[in-house]
Amino acid sequence: MAYKWDFGLVLSYANFWLKGLGVTLAYSVGTVLGGLIIGVVLGMLLLSRRKWVTLPIHFYVELFRCTPLLVQIVWFYYALPIVLSVELPAWLAAGLGLTLYMGAFATEIFRGGIISIDKGQWQASRALGMTNGEMMRHIILPQAIKRMVPPFVNQSIIQLKNTSLLYVVAVPDLMYTGSIVVSDTFRPLEVYTSVAAMYFAILYPLTLWAKRMEAKVDQ
């Protein structure tokens, strides 16, 4: 009993798909940028020797790294409004969760990049009479950023895939759009195959680019 594939119906929802794609990309870019800002600020603060600064940051990072993102999104959607006793729209609650999740990884990436710089670089800078700010700006960060870029790009790629979890709180991303088209057309095979193809079309070139860049940093 051969299945008769029919993509015609699926493609007739082009406008729908474009909107879903737009939502997925917007969430990816938005939460990656938000995460980057969190990562730079918290990663820098993690260099402090004061425990009362670093301890809460470590707690945040581990909390978000050691719980499933799906649980986080659902928690932000259902529980956070109760905790704060404010009504949070789904798109905001989910976006907040995704941003904090990315931020936790970005913090680790930023801190890791900085502490990977040889201690000789720090002592040579200090011996020349540089202040901490001058050392960071001119010696440490220029070397560290090169090492941070590949893991950050990889995490961003994962983040783009993760946005598909928005589906559970009814944010109309690519995945959620798929489920709507299915309920309209009763063509799950064609629809979800198309969804997968679209993710792949975006992510595969990005992955190749990340690999090339990694090789460049290595040499």
């Binding site: 040579a124 200090r126 020349l128 009479g129 010696i139």
Partner: protein, 261 residues
């Protein structure tokens, strides 16, 4: 000599890492233009002592005077911080065993880094100083090379030029030839000899006994965090009085006895 001539005065300096006391009460005077060589067995606290002098380490006790600045570590915090600490270090040059050049800058960029980043000097002015110093250490043709494109000896000469570009009142050298292939040691020691002849005040930690014999005004022998003997180079190296100096020097006797040509 008058007190004015004292460039560095260290009194009762101590440094502990947790329960390990690496430096246990070192006192030492270094006069302007003097070359002091510090020798002693591995782990006796030579590096720690040197790093205390430019405050890369914070001493636990004692006093430290460099130029006109005196810091008392016994008293409640006179340890400089932030910009003040950076200024203190800017007057002291230091060269390390592993060179520690900045890999993202050329040889020229490395030598210009202190004047430009710390002193905010104009680029042209800093470049002139840097080119001069690189010529002086014999690297005129290597200014555009990155550290990874230079031999160990060349890298170390760039590191010396980088420290000198700050026009320091005092230079510290921590086993700067220990990481070099034997055939490259000479070119670095020659540069150091030249600096000594020009009257640079230097504290040099080294295992190069021939260098100590030929260049040092004063030799300090450390053991287990303390100074066990010090005095004029010839006296300490050729007629040591302390038993620990004798046993330490026994390993080098062929080098020291080896008269220079």
């Amino acid at each position: 000599m008058t007190n004015n001539d004292v460039m560095v005065r260290v009194e009762g300096l101590r440094k502990s890492y947790g329960t390990v006391e690496a430096v246990r009460g070192v006192s030492l005077d270094v006069h302007r233009g003097q070359v002091v060589v510090v020798i002693g067995p591995s782990g006796c606290g030579k590096s720690t002592f040197l790093r205390c002098v430019n405050l890369l380490e914070t001493p636990s006790a004692g006093t430290l005077q460099v130029g006109d600045r005196t810091i008392d570590f016994n008293a409640a915090h006179t340890m400089p911080r932030g910009r003040d600490l950076a200024r203190f270090r800017a007057r002291i040059g230091m060269v390390f065993q592993q060179f520690d050049l900045f890999p993202h800058m050329t040889a020229l960029g490395n030598v210009m880094s202190g004047p430009m980043i710390v002193k905010k000097m104009r680029e042209q002015e800093a470049e002139a100083i840097a080119r001069n110093l690189l010529a002086k250490v014999g690297l005129t043709d290597f200014t555009a090379r990155f550290p990874r494109e230079l031999s160990g000896g060349q890298q170390q000469r760039v590191a010396i030029a980088r420290a000198m570009a700050m026009e320091p009142e005092l230079m510290l050298f921590d086993e700067v030839t220990s990481a070099l292939d034997p055939e490259l040691v000479g070119e670095v020691l020659d540069v150091m000899k030249e600096l000594a002849l020009e009257g640079t005040t230097m504290i040099v930690v080294t295992h190069e006994m021939a260098f100590a014999r030929d260049v040092a005004d004063h030799v300090v022998v450390m053991d287990a965090g303390q100074v066990v003997e010090q005095g004029p180079a010839t006296e300490v190296l050729l007629q040591p009085k302390n038993a620990r100096t004798v046993s330490f020097l026994a390993r080098f006797h062929s080098t020291i006895g080896d008269r220079k040509s």
